[in-house]
């Protein structure tokens, strides 16, 4: 029998970026806030200091900052005709776990998604006609606009110390930035990072080919910085241990050096770690939630934590799982095409070429999470005509390396033996003389890419695992081929000594090799309860005192990394709760 604890105003399930932002904002508004984090406590002082944080085997090969699949995982299959099997090791994506969440070990790339995404269906229908969108492509408008979110992007960028160059300042196109981005009200809080040789060579080649390269915006502080909340950042040291690692120099935008320590100093806020939420509880009417049950993973004790409001702020996939386990909202059924919880799971796709330049020294070990030059000519340039190419969405191309770590960075010409003397010789010859051009592509929602509870497998708490059904569709294959052609054209124009060309991913998706941690959908946002789980304030249509944050609310996936809108939506939701919901506890959008 779970021990019932005294009621609090707000329970947060998970303490990464979204939980941290709500923890700070809502405790400052006078609410009693408790965060329940399933993983371990963590601070940069204790956990990210040298030399222990530069342990590639521990943190990268063995994923020390991420979810433990022995306790909970997903089952995976490509299509509904297959039997799904549990993912017993992390591979394709790396959900964060522990205080700070994925915000501790991300690269920091921070984009502003705009109306290209938020109005996707209406914009494509308007330009290309309704028939251009395949029948099984379940994309939809989100119900939010870039103009509404712009101030919150700015707030998040200032919190997280984003370095970059504006390409569109209040409608004026700026040299050196991304000319296709949405209009910004202000410059980035910090100038771009120092560019590497690979960045400079890609920039020149992209320009020669008529494209518009720019330094990617990234929450790696290019110089010392104090954010508006007084959190101090050191300058990035280009150590090359960024993604999969905590930052040793307090230079990466992380909730652990910004919103979380501020909340921790507030007596209204309490953090309980090793606290695994098993269910969100509803009242008998089913119109409100009343709190959560959770298990202390250290001793197995169970608790009920009553709360006036619950926010799901865990990793996107885990938020979806908790909704399904709690029976909130109607589960999605791809055959009947009813229900919404679990709908529109999306991923990303990509292609990459490796270019070898005999005699050039790239020094890839001097890297950081965002040390790349990007170009958006086939993504946010709406003038790029998709009709001849037959795909919806787009891809971003980037040149440069983010690290040159000894285990995982091993550029070798195709055909090099996988071990032995020749492998060693080629490793030594090319380690410092190669560079990479890659693409990151969007994935459009599809009727048959979704989540549901698995009928066969259970986690360590006895609850059903969640089943993921996912594969790339023809839309993504066509886009991948277009991307590979563009990458190879740019690469060839640079006259490398040797080159491993980019190829499109057309084989079935595999969960084994690492690809991207940008999982989206399942608790999607939309304009009405029939097409979505939450309204544009991330508020549940079913239970108005339940908020679901994170990338699970995205109805489809962009080519862009998700953390920009994840952070902006957290600030936007915090404001909606503080300024509107507390005054009138009711749906913020009428159904």
């Amino acid at each position: 029998m779970a021990k019932k604890l005294p009621e609090v105003d707000v329970v947060l399930v998970g303490l990464g970026w979204t939980g941290g932002i709500l923890a700070k904002e809502l405790s400052e508004a006078g609410l009693k806030v408790v965060a329940l984090e399933r993983g371990a406590p963590r601070t940069p002082q204790e956990d990210f200091s040298l030399p222990r944080i530069r342990d590639e085997l521990r943190f990268s090969s063995r994923n020390d900052l991420t979810q433990n699949t022995q306790r909970d995982t997903l089952t995976i299959r490509n299509n509904p005709s297959q039997d799904a099997l549990p993912m017993r090791r992390l591979g394709s994506f790396l959900p964060g776990e522990g205080v700070g969440g994925a915000g501790a070990h991300w690269n920091g790339v921070t984009w502003r998604w705009n109306d290209t995404e938020f109005k996707i269906r209406s914009r494509y229908e308007e330009r290309y006609g309704k028939k251009f969108i395949p029948e099984d492509m379940t994309i939809q408008d989100w119900g939010i606009t870039y103009a509404e979110l712009e101030p919150y992007y700015e707030k998040f960028e200032r919190t997280a110390a984003v370095s970059g160059k504006a390409g569109n300042l209040r409608g004026r196109i700026e040299n050196g930035g991304n000319p296709f981005e949405g209009a910004r009200n202000s410059e980035y809080p910090l100038p771009p990072l120092n560019q590497s040789l690979a960045c400079d060579m890609f920039t020149a080649a992209a320009k020669d080919n008529g494209y518009h390269p720019f330094p990617r915006p990234v929450a790696n502080a290019s110089r010392a910085y104090t954010n508006p909340d007084g959190s101090k950042f050191g300058p990035c040291e280009y150590c090359g241990f960024c993604e999969r690692f905590g930052c040793e120099a307090n230079a990466k935008g992380s909730p652990l050096i910004t919103v979380i320590p501020i909340a921790m100093r507030n007596p209204n806020f309490e953090l309980r770690t090793h606290s695994w939420v098993t269910k969100v509880l509803k009242d008998p009417s089913g119109k409100k939630v009343t709190g959560v049950t959770y298990t202390n993973t250290l001793n197995g004790e169970e608790y009920e934590q009553p709360a006036g409001m619950v926010a799901l702020t865990a990793y996107a996939i885990n938020n979806v799982h908790l909704m399904l386990l709690s029976g909130i909202g109607k589960p999605y059924d791809p055959v009947a095409q009813t229900g919404v919880v679990g709908k529109n799971y999306c991923y990303q796709t990509g292609a990459a070429a490796t270019l070898f330049f005999e005699g050039r020294q790239f020094n890839p070990f001097m890297g950081t999470g965002g040390l790349n030059v990007g170009m958006d000519d086939f993504h946010y340039d709406w003038n790029f005509d998709r009709a001849p190419h037959g795909f919806i969405g787009g891809y971003n191309v980037a040149g440069g390396m983010t690290h040159g770590r000894p285990i995982s960075y091993r550029p070798l010409p195709a055909g090099t033996p996988q071990w032995g003397k020749e492998w060693k010789a080629a490793s030594a010859k090319w380690y410092n003389s190669a560079m990479i051009i890659s693409s990151s592509g969007s994935v459009m929602a599809n009727r048959y890419n979704y989540f549901e509870l698995d009928p066969n497998y259970r986690n360590v708490f006895g609850a059903p695992l969640m089943r993921m059904t996912f594969d790339y569709k023809a839309n993504e294959h066509r886009m991948g081929e277009h991307a590979a052609n563009v990458i190879n054209r740019i690469a060839k124009s640079m006259n490398p000594t040797l080159m491993n060309p980019a190829t499109a991913r057309t084989e079935p998706w595999s969960v084994v090799p690492y690809q991207s941690t940008h999982n989206t959908g399942g608790t999607i946002m939309g304009t009405n309860p029939g097409n979505s789980v939450v309204n544009k304030y991330c508020q549940s249509w079913d239970c108005h005192n339940l908020f679901v944050l994170g990338a699970g609310v995205f109805p489809h996936n962009s080519a862009y990394n998700p953390t920009g809108p994840v952070g902006a939506l957290a600030y936007w939701t915090a404001d909606a709760i503080k300024n509107r919901y507390l005054k009138n506890q009711a749906p913020l959008v009428s159904a």
Partner: protein, 125 residues
């Protein structure tokens, strides 16, 4: 005579150097300290961050701030921090104390260091 002359020259040079230090720009040094402030506090009794609290660093033996977990290299260094030691350490931390674990690649510009130290010394008094 020859010896006396060279002593005078040396004294003049030292004076000039001292003048240089005095002329250091404390305000500029405060700005430069922002590079350090993400990890180091310098107020009396302030908490250690990723790096140790710097209050009273001059004249202190390296590796002795309470509750801070130093690298073996720093503990073994035997340094009793003088201004010259600090200047050399900030210029190139890994050259001065090899294998220490401060993640800072150094401040190569002598004037930057002079200003930074001028600020630190004034702030630490």
């Amino acid at each position: 005579m020859q010896g006396m002359q060279s002593k005078i020259v040396l004294a003049a040079a030292l004076l000039a150097l001292a003048g240089g230090v005095n002329a250091a720009d404390v305000k500029r040094g405060q700005k430069l300290f922002e590079e350090c402030a993400a990890c180091h506090t310098h107020e009396r009794g302030a908490q250690n961050g990723v790096g140790p609290n710097l209050f009273g660093v001059v004249g202190r033996k390296a590796g002795e701030v309470d509750e801070f977990r130093y690298s073996p290299a720093m503990k073994r260094s035997g340094i009793v921090w003088s201004e010259q030691d600090l200047d050399a350490y900030i210029a190139d931390p890994q050259a001065k104390v090899p294998a220490n674990r401060m993640p800072f690649s150094g401040m190569p510009d002598a004037r930057d260091r002079a200003d930074l130290l001028a600020y630190l010394l004034s702030a630490l008094k």
